[in-house]
């Protein structure tokens, strides 16, 4: 676990990056948004809040987003459809976590594969509503 020490002697432990690396892509986004929105303020320690916020950013920039980007770059149609299905489901229940796919949606809306275009459109609508 990654350990963060509070000024008052308290300790916060978060799962380490090596384990997150093996997670399904969408779970990394769910985790980051969960900690950011549900736990961060409860730590009541500016130093720890900053450190954890940086750690969450690092998970996004070094694990979650690169893995998502790679799926679209690989251009494996089945893999893209599978990840879009997961994000469509996510966009119905957890907009903040699903929103990380937004930068990739524009290209996908005009994809010649109808399944891909349709899923991208559905996600886009869910994120706007």
């Amino acid at each position: 676990m990654k350990i963060f020490y509070k000024e008052n002697g308290g300790v916060i432990q978060l799962i380490e990056e090596e384990k997150i690396q093996n997670w399904p892509i969408e779970l990394s986004f769910i985790f980051v948004e969960y900690i950011r929105n549900n736990k961060l303020r409860s730590y009541r320690d500016d130093k720890v809040q900053n450190e954890i916020s940086k750690y969450l950013d690092e998970i996004l920039t070094s694990i979650a987003i690169p893995k998502l980007k790679k799926v679209f770059e690989n251009n494996d149609q089945d893999e893209i459809i599978s990840i879009l299905e997961k994000f469509q489901e996510l966009s119905e229940s957890n907009v903040k976590a699903a929103n990380h796919i937004s930068p990739f949606l524009d290209n996908l809306l005009n994809n010649p594969n109808k399944k891909i275009a349709k899923r991208a459109k559905n996600i886009s609508q869910n994120l706007k509503s």
Partner: protein, 395 residues
Amino acid sequence: MENRLKIKEYDLKATKELFKSYLERRLENLSINLPPNTVKIDDLNRKDTLNRLYKLIDDLIEKIFENGKPSFHLPSRASSNIIWDEENDLLLLGKQIMEKQFHTLTSVADITRLMKILEVVHELLKKNRHITKRHVFYMDVDLFKEQKNSDKSIEDAATMLYTTRNATHIVANPRGSCVGRLRIRDKNDIIDLENQGSGAWTISPMLDEIEIIESDAEFILVIEKSAAMMDLAEVRFWRTYPCILLTAQGVGNVATRMFLKRLTKELNLPAFTLVDSDPYGHYIHSVYLRGSKRLSYETPFLATPNIKLLGVLTRDLDTYKIKNDVRLKMTKQDLKRANDMLKEDFVKKNKNWEEDIKLSIKLKTKAEIQAFSSKGIDFLTETYLPEKLTTGDWI
């Protein structure tokens, strides 16, 4: 629900110091060096368990071609092969190997049951499904006759594969529960164990699906009785004293012990037991501490050698002036169990523990955790536990 605990009066100094020392030594705690005369088993993932199963069957087929007399070899689980590892304070399986032959009349039922279990394990692993031991029994009642036979074959199969029973995806019924300062993930769901209403999260026997993702706890309290757990949960004990509470409602089952082991290992948290002040309570503590004889082959994944017996100690009954009318007289069976415990090497090694058991035999007295209610409804949560955790009065 409102936090009903009064303003914090105790700083849990001793517990915090213990936690700090565990955090400093965290790298040392990562692995246990097992003695050379014991069997080493691995907690395998699905793919590796399947590979080990295929290797086992390949070897069996080879034997059939070689001499037409196939057999399985597996570590003996007889009591003569159970070794107490003094250094790590664990009960482990020695290296005696037994053979199960296919071609003798005496072993035909046993081997047929074992092959059926291997077939079930294969299907479970291939489909990534889990089932309970009871479910396995009902898969072929004619073959197994009684559940104890299917249970034995399940343990044989796990031993033969040199892995934990959980790795075979055959699990026990869920019994334990957990609540407190902990966040876990079960597949893609994040579960907050602080927000479980008036209840607690049922410890899933499918622990291969569970991962610890966040915690700000500073210790773990394992409670024998669900009634005491309910008391602590109702006042949200963990809000005042950052902790994780667990109960298995009696002797710890596999899932609870394995989950506790994982919590202490991954979070470096000190763990304490709160059990009745009687020999059975001490036995429950011992199972968490160094494992059980029946599952000695899985001990490295089930035992928590650092766990402390916080209470209720026999000496606590006088220290906290527990009246005689809420104490109970020890039965013949209690006295026998207490005397049997005194013969155990792991008790002899721990003078503090030995003294407390001797005191209970001398006084012939025992008490339940609930005896503290005689001092007031909040005495356990507001005085007894915080005071013990602050002063370090544990075994």
